[in-house]
């Protein structure tokens, strides 16, 4: 089993794309059920973290801007780490992610071990 990072991205800027508080409330269960499903298959390596929507980007010239979605429409909203045999299986696991239901996407990347 290898470990893969699943990065959840969605549109944080377009006003019409923002979920209502009620929608956010309703998102809790699908997320918990999905994470519970991964965990029940013993394929969840880390529950990861959700990220707050405001942030800063420090550029190479040390200029700090609000970010990161001033320039990119899709920003990282959170991540988890899953266990899978290969990239294909990890991508298959990502298909159940609720971020897909609100127009977001999941980036699947293998973790490179220290050895």
């Amino acid at each position: 089993m290898k470990e893969f990072l699943l990065i959840f991205r969605r549109d944080f800027i377009t006003k019409e794309e923002q979920p209502s508080p009620e929608q956010i409330q309703n998102m809790m269960k699908p997320w918990q059920d999905w994470m519970g499903s991964l965990a029940a298959q013993n394929k969840l390596a880390s529950s990861g973290n959700r990220l707050a929507s405001d942030g800063r980007v420090v550029k190479s010239d040390k200029i700090v801007t609000d970010g990161p979605y001033v320039e990119i429409k899709e920003a990282v909203g959170g991540y988890i780490v899953v266990k899978a045999n290969d990239l294909d299986e990890a991508a298959e696991l990502a298909k159940g992610c609720p971020v897909l239901n609100i127009g977001g996407n999941v980036e699947v990347r293998g973790l490179v071990g220290m050895d």
Binding site: K29, Q32, D33, M35, G36, S37, A39, A40, Q41, N42, L44, S47
Partner: protein, 415 residues
């Protein structure tokens, strides 16, 4: 209590206390001497009490005899030491009258210290449970073998090896520092938890033995609550789980020793007293910050929902979310199966079947029982297939009887 009941009873309640106190006096490296003294004492009790009748205070009698026997041994040891260590300076030899403290406090303290010694990191998890049963609960190798579905020789060897390890590693009989307590308490709790489960879910047919195992686990957990430095929220949560589960003792097995499923149990047989105790300890366990919510907290909350037999959607939705969290803290096959059952109750069988097929627990008979349950009324052919697989994989007579009964029911409805 009759003589022939009293001695086994005292053996159960006093053996471990006496061994702990004597170990404290001799040092844990002499644990076998302590055990021999206590066993000899009980042997003498059987002979003497049988001939002369019961002493006025049987417990005091046991302690006095054990104390005297220990004194003799220590004196002999001392003579040996003096002869061998003649060359040593005098003050190092002068410990002839070793004090054996039989106060209530020293008994409790010694037992608590013994719990931590047994849960020393150098001892394997399997051996820890065996040792706990043997030293802390006074179970013999044969009873332990019965509970583990193993044979006496294997258990005997395992215990001997573990005791050797205690000696080799020079495990001290003392309560570790607070930081070390916090580190080791995880292992202690796991051992208590397994001890309880060993009784609650044991494959052994011996119902009385199983109940005693559970009660012993509860007694030891209670001793952790009674001591300030070990009275943590997680310990209270564990106690709460044990109380909730134990409340169903009388309802979960029928007079023939057969399993009665939760939904078929007569809830009037559940112990209200234990349910209330469970609620009390659950409340006690809640005094902790959010980051310290342990798996025991979550399991206690699940057990709390199960004290209400009503089959409501809200109840199952809450249980499902708790299992989702529990599995994220720690995976276990049984939690994965229970989660899937809760999922079928909260989100429907169709979704649960898809999820169940992903679990990859093909060699687990509970997995096939779950699938058989989920397919019931949807695809009875699959129900039969999974029941048959479960039957093949099950290990105990009670389970086999239970599955065969289910098989008959399904084939009858099919006909």
């Amino acid at each position: 209590m009759e003589n022939n009941e009293l001695i086994p009873h005292l053996f159960r309640t006093e053996y471990s206390k006496m061994v702990a106190v004597l170990c404290k006096a001799f040092g844990i490296e002499h644990i076998s001497i302590a055990e021999d003294v206590v066993s000899d004492t009980f042997l003498l009790a059987v002979e003497t009490w049988g001939q002369k009748g019961l002493p006025k205070n049987p417990v005091a009698w046991l302690y006095i005899v054990a104390k005297n026997k220990s004194r003799d041994i220590l004196r002999r040891q001392n003579i040996f030491d003096k002869k061998v260590k003649l060359a040593l300076p005098k003050e190092e030899v002068d410990n002839s009258e070793l004090h054996i403290d039989l106060s209530e406090k020293n008994i409790t303290d010694s037992q608590l210290q013994m719990i931590f010694a047994i849960c020393h990191p150098s001892i394997s998890a399997e051996a820890q449970i065996g040792l706990a049963l043997n030293i802390l609960c006074g179970f013999g190798a044969e009873e332990i073998a019965d509970a583990f579905l193993s044979n006496k020789e294997t258990i005997y060897k395992r215990l001997a090896r573990a005791k050797e390890k205690l000696k080799e590693n020079n495990v001290p009989l003392e309560l570790p520092s607070q930081t070390e307590i916090d580190n080791r308490l995880d292992v202690v709790l796991r051992t208590m938890y397994l001890l309880f489960n060993e009784g609650y879910y044991s494959a052994s047919q011996n119902v009385t033995l199983r109940k005693e195992l559970c009660l012993e686990a509860m007694r030891l957990t209670y001793s952790l609550i009674e001591n300030e430095s070990t009275n943590t929220p997680a310990v209270n949560a564990l106690m709460s789980i044990m109380c909730f589960h134990a409340s169903r003792f009388e309802a979960r097995i029928d007079s023939n020793g057969e399993i009665i499923l939760y939904e078929d149990q007569d809830a009037s047989l559940w112990s209200e007293e234990l349910i209330n105790k469970g609620k009390y300890y659950l409340e006690q366990s809640s005094h902790c910050d959010k980051n310290k919510v342990s798996k025991y907290h979550i399991e206690a909350a699940i057990a709390f929902y199960h004290t209400n037999q009503a089959d409501t959607h809200d109840k199952w939705e809450s249980i499902l979310q708790l299992y989702n969290r529990l599995l994220q803290i720690e995976y276990s096959p049984i939690a994965a199966l229970n989660r899937t059952y809760a999922l079928s109750k909260a989100n429907g069988k169709a979704e649960a079947i898809v999820e169940a097929e992903k679990l990859g627990l093909d060699d687990n008979h509970w997995y096939h029982l779950l699938l058989a349950n989920l397919y019931t009324g949807i695809d009875n052919g699959k129900t039969v297939t999974h029941l048959k697989k479960a039957l093949n994989l099950s290990k105990t007579v009670a389970e086999k009887n239970f599955i065969e009964k289910k098989l008959q029911e399904v084939t009858l409805t099919n006909a």
